[in-house]
């Protein structure tokens, strides 16, 4: 059963053969067939959408499939980036069989039910309770910052099954049925006026034990798989020079000479230099990954990217002497492409980049401890029962 090592040419041949026999008229049918042919995510196992091939071959396949129906990766980003690797690593054979195909084809959208109002940076301190009731689990709690929850079919859920042990030990990981009674999704309006995220209220939501992912009490180690994949996926696209937010600023400077002020020239140039440095750092990281030498530089990318984005969008407001916004009304459309809206929107939205997916403060601690090997702070919250922690 073990796959033979593939070459890029093999991939192109397979895709060509597939395309020859699968006209792309029926979008869902086409995607299902692509999955079944192992041409979805090539590094996944045979039978689960892949061919057990090298991850490096995926771009070859994607290129060969260009122009055919895709699974709208932005729409199902949480499923692709977080739920799938978690299911793959920790799911039972049945779970992987049941969930991965519709996840990949986009038929079933996933969301992530981790953060809570009282558990942001300290995710392991979360309070959402899962109580065993005969064979089922009964979930009660509140989750927040849940993107895609308003059209998600499933959620990956972290809940506390035992409050009487230290916080990391009492957690269990579940697949939450978003259509189950007791699940309420409410839009969460942000300072941009939009409601990109949701609050999710779980009120005695009953889940069968088959929806448990991993062992009881092992939720934290399952969640680490999810989180590692989250961090990799944030700020991850390869961009050409001036491809990100700096592009908008540079164009503004070039195309609106009346806005140029002597006192801001050097600031714009500093931002340009910083953006190019961050871009090259990302490029170097990709080369390391491609060469099979993953370095710790990944953790630098999100931190640097957040600061850069905030600096650039801030400078954009200064340069434009911006006092106007376009529209404060609630927008529930799909997530906008970042550079597409106004400078004010970009500026405000960028405030979140140093909070979401790990605050910059937390990232600095992670770099200090895991990369540089600096000693951790004395902790008082690790050995005590969760129930006893001050909150």
């Amino acid at each position: 059963m073990s796959p033979t090592p593939m070459t890029p040419a093999d991939v192109r041949t397979s895709v060509a053969a597939f395309l020859a026999s699968h006209p792309p008229e029926d979008r869902t049918g086409f995607l299902r067939a692509r999955f079944d042919a192992g041409l979805a995510w090539l590094h996944y196992p045979v039978g689960l959408g892949g061919l057990g091939a090298s991850r490096a071959l995926q771009p070859v396949a994607d290129e060969a499939f260009a122009g055919t129906p895709d699974n709208e990766p932005r729409r199902i980003a949480v499923g692709l980036g977080m739920a799938a690797p978690t299911l793959l690593k920790h799911g039972t054979a049945e779970q992987r069989q049941r969930y991965l195909r519709p996840l990949w084809t986009g038929e079933e959208v996933w969301c992530q039910l981790f953060s809570e109002p009282g558990a942001g940076s300290d995710l392991a301190g979360l309070a959402c309770a899962a109580r065993k009731d005969r064979d089922d689990w009964v979930i009660t709690g509140q989750k927040v910052w849940t993107s895609q929850a308003h059209y998600a079919r499933w959620g990956i859920l972290l809940a506390r099954t035992d409050p009487d042990v230290p916080k990391h030990q009492g957690l269990t990981f579940f697949i939450c049925d978003m259509r189950a009674p007791g699940v309420t999704v409410r839009p969460l309006r942000q300072l941009t006026g939009e409601a990109e995220f949701n609050e999710v209220f779980l009120d005695e939501v009953r889940l069968e034990d088959t929806l448990r992912l991993g062992e009881v009490g092992e939720g934290w180690s399952v969640a680490r798989t999810t989180l590692m994949n989250e961090r990799v996926s944030i700020g991850g696209d390869a961009l050409p020079r001036e491809g990100g937010a700096i592009g908008a600023l540079a164009r503004m400077w070039r195309e609106q000479p009346e806005l140029r002020r002597a006192g801001l020239h050097d600031a714009v140039l500093r931002a340009w230099v910083r953006a190019e440095a961050v871009r090259l750092t990302g490029l170097r990281l990709r080369q390391q990954l491609a060469a099979g030498e993953p370095g710790p530089e990944g953790s630098a990318v999100k931190l640097a990217f957040a600061g850069l984005l905030q600096e650039i969008t801030s400078l954009e407001l200064e340069l434009g002497s911006t006092l106007r916004h376009d529209d404060w009304r609630v927008d529930r459309g799909p997530q906008p492409e970042f550079p597409s809206r106004t400078p004010t929107h970009r500026y405000l939205r960028a405030r979140g980049s140093s909070i979401e997916g790990g605050t910059s403060e937390i990232l600095r601690t992670i770099i200090g401890e895991r990369v540089l090997g600096l000693p951790a702070e004395p902790r008082s919250d690790l050995a005590v029962a969760w129930r006893e922690l001050p909150r």
Binding site: D122, V144, G193, L264, E318, W328, S354, E361, P390
Partner: protein, 358 residues
């Protein structure tokens, strides 16, 4: 030596105003509405507390106070991001009117009966205050002025046009409210199509009136920025004391504590600089320098404090529900108002002889 402290009278004014705002000001309730100004609150402040005429001499119907007291009012209004037109009406338009010597308009303004606004874009730096975009034919005014602050409820507009400064009644102006970054101080675009205007001042007098008005606005905006920064600091300190993560209040972590210490140092400096600007305005000495310094320094401090406030509140600070965003938007908008910091630094370069590179 310039007095940089608060007098007892000023401190009393502050207490009274703060209590009033605590009871009657709800800025979040005014946003996303057509009537962006809280007219009830403004009536209490303008008429009942006499703030509309704060800078107006007693014999003209005002309170006869000065820029130092007005600065304290700005601080408190900034702390509350109060949606009232004190800066635009009482400070800027008031200064222009007093400079023109218009007893009737002054009296109406001071009584809180007839709000007046200066039709100059909010982003105008003092040094470029005189740049009329409206033309005159006979006594008829035509043209437009964009992004004007505190003009939505003005009964009278003071319009720089041609070589003069004109008073235009409500009926002669078309207003279009902007979607403002700072919804607690909604801007509007004004247009005039042959509107009848009454000449208040001409030539150098008109220029001086407008220039001194915008300069006063810039100088006292700094105090408003101090108030904004102070609210952000206080609110964040309160939050990080009570928010527990990892079994500790997050304010006990150095990353949080040290950032707030830096904000406190910055606010402390901003206060000294803003007091200096108010004193300079009061004594009419070094006003240009003090105003440029104040804007160059206090604009970024308010922004820094508001950004720290959002960051250290974490997710909740990113929501529409929490007030932090009102302060962030006020701070960002105020940083552009009456000219951005780099323009004020460039003005300082002229004033203190640090010329640009050849």
């Amino acid at each position: 030596m310039t007095g940089l402290l608060y007098s007892d009278v000023e401190s009393e004014l502050r207490s009274e105003l703060r209590a009033m705002l605590r009871d009657h000001c709800d800025p979040a309730a005014r946003i996303e509405r057509d009537d962006a100004v809280d007219v009830d609150l403004w009536r209490r402040l303008a008429r009942d507390m006499g703030l509309a005429g704060l800078l107006v001499p007693e014999h003209l119907g005002g309170a006869g106070a000065g820029p130092r007291e007005a600065a304290v009012v700005c601080e408190e209004l900034g702390r509350a991001v109060a949606p009232v037109p004190f800066l635009g009406c009482a400070v800027v338009a008031g200064t222009a009117l007093l400079s023109c010597g218009e007893p009737d308009l002054v009296a109406g303004l001071a009584a809180g009966e007839r709000p007046v606004a200066l039709a100059v874009p909010f982003a105008t730096p003092p040094a470029h205050a005189w740049s009329p975009t409206v033309t005159v034919a006979g006594d008829r005014l035509t043209g437009s002025v964009r992004a004007v602050a505190d003009a939505t409820i003005a009964d009278v507009l003071l319009v720089p046009a041609g070589r003069g400064l004109f008073a235009v009644d409500n009926s002669g102006v078309r207003r279009e409210q902007c979607t403002s970054l700072d919804e607690t101080r909604r801007l509007c675009d004004l247009s005039f199509e042959g509107a009848p205007g009454r000449l208040l001042a001409e030539g150098a007098d008109a220029e001086a009136a407008v220039r001194s008005a915008v300069l006063a606005g810039a100088a006292l905006l700094a105090s408003e920025q101090v108030g904004v920064a102070e609210w952000c600091l206080d609110t964040t300190v309160e939050h990080v004391r009570g928010r527990y993560q990892f079994g500790r209040p997050i304010g006990s972590f150095q990353a949080v504590k040290h950032r707030l210490a830096d904000v406190w140092v910055a606010v402390t400096q901003a206060r000294a600089v803003a007091r200096y600007a108010a004193s300079a305005l009061a004594t009419q000495s070094e006003v240009d320098l003090a105003a440029a310094l104040a804007q160059a320094h206090c604009s970024p401090v308010a922004v820094e404090a508001a950004e720290a406030c959002v960051q250290l509140h974490g997710g909740i600070g990113m929501t529409w529900e929490h007030r932090a965003h009102l302060y962030l938007k006020r701070a960002r908008s105020a940083a552009v108002a009456y000219g951005p910091a780099d323009v004020h630094r460039a003005r300082l370069a002229e004033l203190v002889d640090l010329p640009p590179a050849l």
